[in-house]
């Protein structure tokens, strides 16, 4: 579905590329790009919707080179949700969700119907939230609206950049599980960026571990956990492993 073919991206003035990847995301897959800050995972994501252009190589979407498409049209066809949500503060919840359908020229009635449907889909009661301004929403509600906005025009591909970054752990857990459900229910292909290994292990079909601009480990959670692998992968796996063991130990004590 998505192919980054021998893609590199070098920033002006830099000597070595910030990103050098060769990666394929399958139809219907949820792929997580995992790594520490500055490893190039967000740049990788932005290469797909042309917020960043490759220095060499090409990006294919459904077999078509994205460089041959109009960038605005391309972006309207891809769901995009970012860290910090980026809801427009001067627009109501409904108007935020309606941005892309509006850009695509949907009719008023069609947009209204879609907004209603999406708010329900992400677990928000349309009647009470649709006319509120983003500033009046809780962190979790805002994240849900962000996801609804990304899904608005029924995209085949979703790009999520740390979408659950700014919420408390409980809400985060709920949102993760709900997104996993939506992903399967809607049959979309998702690329998600995170630095949280636990999030990656729980959500992903496959995880691409990035380090200094390159993919240093690629596979399902079990494949990665089974090892042996790149030292960076081991390092990132260290924490969830230790936490899991500690939890298992604690749970043994209370088990009936």
């Amino acid at each position: 579905m998505i192919r980054l073919e021998q893609v590199t991206r070098t920033w002006p003035g830099a000597t070595r590329p910030a990103v050098r990847v060769d990666l394929e995301v399958k139809q219907g897959e949820l792929l997580v790009l995992l790594g520490e800050s500055g490893c190039g995972k967000t740049t990788c994501l932005k290469l797909i919707n042309r917020l960043v252009e490759p220095t060499s190589g090409r990006v294919l979407l459904g077999g078509v080179d994205v460089a041959s498409l109009d960038p605005d049209t391309l972006r309207r066809g891809i769901g995009y949700a970012i860290q910090g949500v980026g809801l427009f503060p001067h627009l109501t919840v409904a108007q935020n969700v309606a941005v892309v359908p509006g850009l695509l020229g949907w009719s008023r009635a069609e947009i209204d119907r879609r907004v209603e449907e999406l708010l329900e889909l992400v677990g928000l009661p349309p009647a009470t939230v649709r006319d509120r301004l983003p500033a009046t929403l809780s962190g979790g509600q805002a994240q849900r609206v962000g996801v609804a906005r990304a899904l608005a025009a029924r995209p085949k591909v979703m790009l999520l950049d740390e979408p659950f970054g700014a919420v408390d752990p409980l809400t985060r857990d709920t949102l993760q599980l709900e997104y996993r459900r939506l992903h399967s229910q809607l049959g979309v292909t998702t690329v998600m960026v995170t630095h949280d290994m636990t999030e990656a292990l729980l959500l992903a079909d496959r995880i691409a571990v990035m380090h200094e601009g390159e993919v240093v480990g690629l596979g399902s959670a079990t494949e990665l956990l089974r090892g042996p692998s790149h030292p960076q992968v081991e390092r990132l796996l260290g924490t969830p492993r230790r936490q899991a063991q500690a939890l298992a130990h604690l749970l043994e004590g209370v088990a009936p």
Binding site: I82, Q83, F88, V99, V100, L103, R149
Partner: protein, 514 residues
Amino acid sequence: MTSQLEEQLALLPSRLSQHLGLSLVALAVGVALSVPLSLLAVRFRVFRWVVLTGAGVVQAIPGLALLALMVPGFDLLRRHVFPSLSAFGFWPAAAALILYSMLPLLRNTVTGLRSIDPTLLEAARGLGMTSRQTLVRVQVPLAAPVILAGLRTSVVWTVGVATLSTPVGQPSLGNFIFSGLQTRNWAAVVVGCVAAAGLALFLDATVGLFEAAVEKRSRARAWVATAISVAVLLLGAWPFLASRGPSPVRIGAKTFTEQYVLAEVLATSAERAGLPTSRVGSLGSTIVFDALVSGELDAYVDYTGTIWANHLGRTDVADADTVLAEVTRWLAEKHQVTCVGRLGFENAYALAMRRDRAEALGVKTISQLAPMMAGLKLGSDYEFFSRPEWKRLSQLYQLKPAEQVSFDSSFMYKAVQSGEVDVITAFSSDGRIAAFDLVVLEDPLHALPPYDAVLLLGPRADTHPGLREALQPLVGAIDVKAMRHANELVDLQGASRTEAARWLREAAHLDAPK
């Protein structure tokens, strides 16, 4: 006092709407220019520096100077690029106000657009908005409160500075202030100030209503604000819409009492002959001349010595008849301006001092005064020290006063009377010379040229049939005693200029039954 106030209030509607029209045009063009400049300034750092610095420099120039500079500027344009352009009146005033209005608009728009959270801009791009859509749907609405705050500042500044457009020939609420200061008509000054401040606050509140409507997303407020704006626009457009019909005879006046009274006398003569008139008062001395030459004005009264020294650039002195003949010839040949003739009195520059001071010093002539000048203060109007007459006078008599002080000419007489200055450059037809018991010093070296009051007609005066015939009886009709008394009526007895003009017409037998 009440009749003066009523007279001033009667002038209010037309001046208010002219002031409003001028301010609105300046603001509209200012906004139209500031928007694209701000957008470029947000994008390019060097451009931003250039634009904001430029606007800051314009702001630092005093308003009156900026307006006055537009006149020679427009004159250059008229001579070399657009011959049909007027160097006088509406457009030069509007141009200065446009420049003046732009700094708060530019600064707030740039600041507003630049302070938007970059996450939102990335979200907008990532969702597939073009840069235009990002601007219109995200950047401008988010920066709107800051931009509107800039507009409010700009509105208040522009309406305030527009009062200074009077001396470049654009009628405004400033006419009340300028002519009121000259003729000591405080009712007029108060009317002008209150009206200008009221207009500024009213427009500011209207923009504020829009601001609140945007902020509170209130349709009701938006409708009210729109309704008020439409009413304001109609009032501002009135002078443009209403200026149809036969074009009036335009009569000019400089910035002192005698000129206002004479303009009124001229206008009455024209009106008696059935011609519509409009009076353009409070013009700078060179501006009024330029306006006559370019055909913007049809008639005004000037003084032979002023034209001789300032426009012919003569530094020598001749007798009154020679000066009149040469000035008349030069005006006709060079500018197609007709000098109809002398009115019958002279308004010369003359050194004057309090009688008791003059007697104590034993001074009767300027030559006797000269050696003592180093210990004396000389007061004058705004113009005299930069005029060629002063150059000649100070050189011939070796005058080196201890201090030179410039006053508004109506305060100058008060200053010599109270002893704040010792000597002033008085006007020989001023009523205050007699009233304050001042003595005029003789000029044995004839340093000062004669200043016969003469009636001038512009090159387009003949497009008003009967104008020349209507004004002809003024020639030789006004002697210096009558003129002094008319000036005194206004300056010391609180009469309005129309009352003084009525008295002067009677004294000169201008309305004698046929």
